[in-house]
Symmetry: C2
Subunit: 214 residues, 2 copies
């Protein structure tokens, strides 16, 4: 069975993006600090078509994270662009350029219908307007037996967590305070739906906490 | 120099006590789950005058935590009792019985003056009404060259953290959701005042994150 695997970087005070998110500052003020641990890694650089990089305790975690993924789900805020409907004359095509690093089907949760967007390297963005269960069903079908990655942001994650649809959760806990704006576990309730801590890894600038059903 | 060492158990969603704290439920609803990892440990049982218990990856952390402590600071909510002034006829003397497990001077932050309370085993509670810096100064003097423990709760910790007075912070991160009520890092801002993650330990039911100034 294709599993839904959620992974996200979170600050010590529980935020997954800084305040004042915008097209120019997609991660919010200070939010880029959530990703400092991953950018120097060879495992990340290779996945983004770059050479070189470091190997440390995080490397195995990142390799594990991208392995056996056949499709990705993300929220509209993570796909980006100005809020509201799509600008037909000058549509937003994501943060990732002509050849995004996914190389598989990506399903974007949105309230605004849009034709699928096929980019280079095998990445196709499909815009899903009929809810999280529909997106999961489509992603599972597209994944062809492999797993589905849930990449965030906070609102998309909250919906899947609260519905008990997440099979695995990898929290990259970054030892910093962001002071806003979106808390990952806001409104999720107190039920982790059987997800238990199964592995913790200390690495430079981050602690990786993996949750799964036993 | 005597250091101020803060330690606390925190849920995955950032809370250090559950909702609806009361005299009958001092940790709030679900809050006792924050301490399940420590109760079976031999290191904890010994410190509380009990025999037996388990040894695991948390044992060294707990031993380290209680070592070289000469005084403790805590907030009024942690000392407990009904909010407001002290009941002179039937004063609240803490949760810990006649022989509390501190065995050293304890300083309680409060808005309501009260005579010191000397209990068995070397524990004296001194009630400090003139603020966190005064309490720290008194505790340092009483600690006789050893360190001062800051035991919580959330409000006391927030004041010391925001003022940059904490020299070491040990977070026991418990992989559970509490959904309320007091967030440890609420209103603390984004400045950790030089505290950096220096050690992470994975243990049964908890991940220990130690912060210090390098």
């Amino acid at each position: 069975m294709s599993r839904l695997r959620f992974r996200i970087s979170m600050s010590l005070d529980g935020f997954v993006a800084g305040p004042d998110q915008s097209v120019n500052e997609p991660l919010g003020v200070g939010g880029e600090g959530l990703h400092e641990w991953v950018l120097p890694l060879a495992a990340w650089r290779t996945a983004h078509g770059k050479e070189g990089g470091e190997v440390n305790e995080s490397s195995r975690v990142v390799e594990e994270e991208v392995a056996n993924i056949g499709a990705t789900i993300m929220g509209r805020n993570m796909f980006g662009g100005h809020p509201g409907g799509w600008d037909a004359g000058n549509p937003w095509n994501g943060w990732w350029g002509k050849n995004p690093p996914f190389h598989h089907p990506v399903f974007v949760l949105t309230h605004h219908a849009r034709e699928p967007l096929a980019l280079e390297g095998g990445t196709t963005f499909t815009f899903v307007t009929d809810g999280i269960e529909s997106a999961l069903e489509q992603a599972r079908r597209a994944a062809g037996g492999r797993d589905v990655a849930l990449s965030g942001g906070a609102q998309a994650a909250q919906q899947y967590l609260a519905a008990g649809l997440v099979d695995e959760m990898e929290l990259h806990l970054v030892p910093t305070l962001l002071g806003g704006v979106e808390r990952l576990f806001e409104g999720v309730g107190t039920d982790l739906h059987g997800l238990e801590l199964v592995r913790a890894v200390a690495a430079p600038g981050v602690t990786h906490l993996k949750f799964a059903r036993r």
